[in-house]
């Protein structure tokens, strides 16, 4: 094996796997958007907060799994508190108000996490090495990172669980109802506050998973909050309301940015990777603004 074909597939697969990492972050956005119709500006801050809390605990000698459990508990408490303090007073307010509140929450979280744990960057080792897998390289000639495959597996499990949650369970249906109309949801007996607390807690859990994987790759530092920016084109491509969209969008973004970098990069001086997803997103906004899997809202006037 080897040669241009194998190289193409190597680029494609490593792109797809990188895309899974974007999908993970995008998932957090989708969850909140589905339940409250709000673009949660604080998602990046939540990823950062989760990763920093986890890594600081581990550095203080807490066992890996215990640190994970504690961080998860912290994220759940954070989710419930967000509902109580930030969202509850804003029931039945326009969505832009809720969006503004999440911007405030983002700054608060960024300040809080650095206030508690300090602002120096940390390395994070989750025990999976970011190296090419040898047996795969020997058999196919492709160099794919073990870490990427691990992240993809985690993401696959997470997505399956969330998809079951939304499609099959009472809470899932209630969630979609709440996203559509608060008043009507209350009238059929859906406890709005409880649903919001649940969804923010789940989003906190997703932020933790994303934070661990991204933190392990790039180190836990303030720049982790910008991971959320990479989720933006993913969401535009996939649609803000769709879990499947977040996954497919992430894969497309990951694959296309790597392919563009390798095959188009040389002609325009490289560095395509960092801006190509946004161009793609812009093009999508022109062609299909609701995204690949988004719901098209038709309003009668």
């Amino acid at each position: 094996m080897g040669g241009p074909v194998s190289f193409f597939f190597e680029v494609l697969f490593s792109g797809l796997l990188a895309g899974v990492m974007y999908s993970l972050v995008a998932l957090g956005f989708v969850l909140i958007y589905k339940a409250s119709g709000v673009f949660n500006f604080a998602q990046g801050a939540m990823v950062f907060f989760a990763a920093l809390t986890f890594v600081s605990l581990v550095e203080r000698g807490v066992n890996f799994w215990l640190a994970m459990a504690i961080t998860l508990a912290v994220m759940i408490v954070l989710g419930v508190l967000t509902e109580r303090v930030v969202l509850r007073p804003l029931i039945n307010q326009p969505q832009i108000t809720l969006f503004m509140a999440t911007i405030g929450l983002a700054f608060f979280l960024e300040g809080l996490s650095q206030g508690i744990w300090g602002s120096q960057p940390h390395g994070l080792d989750i025990g999976i090495r970011d190296e090419p897998m040898e047996w795969l390289a020997e058999r196919t000639g492709m160099f794919l990172s073990q870490f990427d495959l691990f992240a993809a597996a985690i993401a696959a499990v997470l997505v399956t669980v969330l998809a079951l949650f939304f499609q099959r369970t009472r809470i899932g249906r209630a969630l979609r109802a709440v996203a559509d109309d608060h008043q009507a949801a209350l009238a059929v007996g859906i406890p709005l506050k409880q649903i919001w607390a649940i969804v923010w807690a789940v989003a906190g859990f997703v932020a933790l998973v994303a934070g661990l994987l991204w933190g392990a790759r790039t180190g836990v530092q303030f720049a982790l909050t910008f991971v959320a920016l990479k989720a933006l084109p993913v969401l535009i491509l996939g649609g803000f309301e769709s879990i499947a969209g977040a996954i497919v969008g992430g894969l497309i973004i990951g694959a296309s940015e790597k392919l563009a970098e390798v095959y188009l990069g040389p002609y325009v001086g490289g560095g395509i990777e960092s801006w190509f997803p946004y161009v793609l997103a812009l093009a999508f906004l022109l062609i299909r603004p609701e995204g690949l899997f988004g719901e098209k809202h038709i309003d009668r006037v």
């Binding site: 669980v161 079951l164 949650f165 099959r168 369970t169 009472r170 809470i171 249906r173 209630a174 979609r176 109802a177 996203a179 559509d180 109309d181 008043q183 009507a184 949801a185 209350l186 009238a187 059929v188 007996g189 859906i190 406890p191 709005l192 309301e241 719901e295 809202h297 038709i298 309003d299 009668r300």
Partner: protein
Amino acid sequence: MSATARTVGLPILVVEGVSLAFGGVKALQGVSFDVREHEIRAIIGPNGAGKSSMLNVINGVYHPQEGTITFRGVSRRGMVVHEAAAQGIGRTFQNIALFRGMTVLDNIMTGRNLKIRSTFLEQAVWLGRARREELAHRRKVEEIIDFLEIQHIRKTPVGRLPYGLQKRVELARALAMEPELLLLDEPMAGMNLEEKQDMCRFVLDVNEQFGTTIVLIEHDMGVVMDISDRVVVLDYGRKIADGTPEEVRANQAVIDAYLGVAH
């Protein structure tokens, strides 16, 4: 055209001395009336009389400053909306409040939400009980769909439906809750004659076949006089008359309120 098969029973809902104010605006002042089991009770009155406020008090959207609401023997002043729903109070809204992104079927299924008993985990893995339960709820919902004659639009997203059908879907969702008390806020507003006749028929059928007690607000006097057993008349937040359609029609205060009177 009053009902024959059903028997009107004892009061299921008692409203006593309810006063509600928004700042200086007195929406309701000492309003008392009762609703008997299985009856169709109308609340009428000129614009701004406090009809919708009254409905919102019954269903827990507003909490009155004075007075009590007694539903099935339990008295309370303030209650949370989803608790009212859990106790068997269903409602529709004056401005349709449907889940626009969902299909008709999914919208109606949300009405079954409170009745689902299987746990979250059972549902996620689609275990025996969850599966049987979901199917049973689906059957119930299909019955309601047949009842309201909306089979042809089951899979349509509600946002695409014409107004009259949206109103019907909203009624279907409320019925899926199998409420004991159904609050209808202007169910026929904005409808053409044919749609109104359909809706009247459905309201009467619901009342007759399911025995559901209904409180409705309506502007169309013809409709109110035709289908309701008893009528409460509100004007400027006060009750000015209460009785059968015939009594109310003959009441001087009501005539004055509607036609205006020289002071």
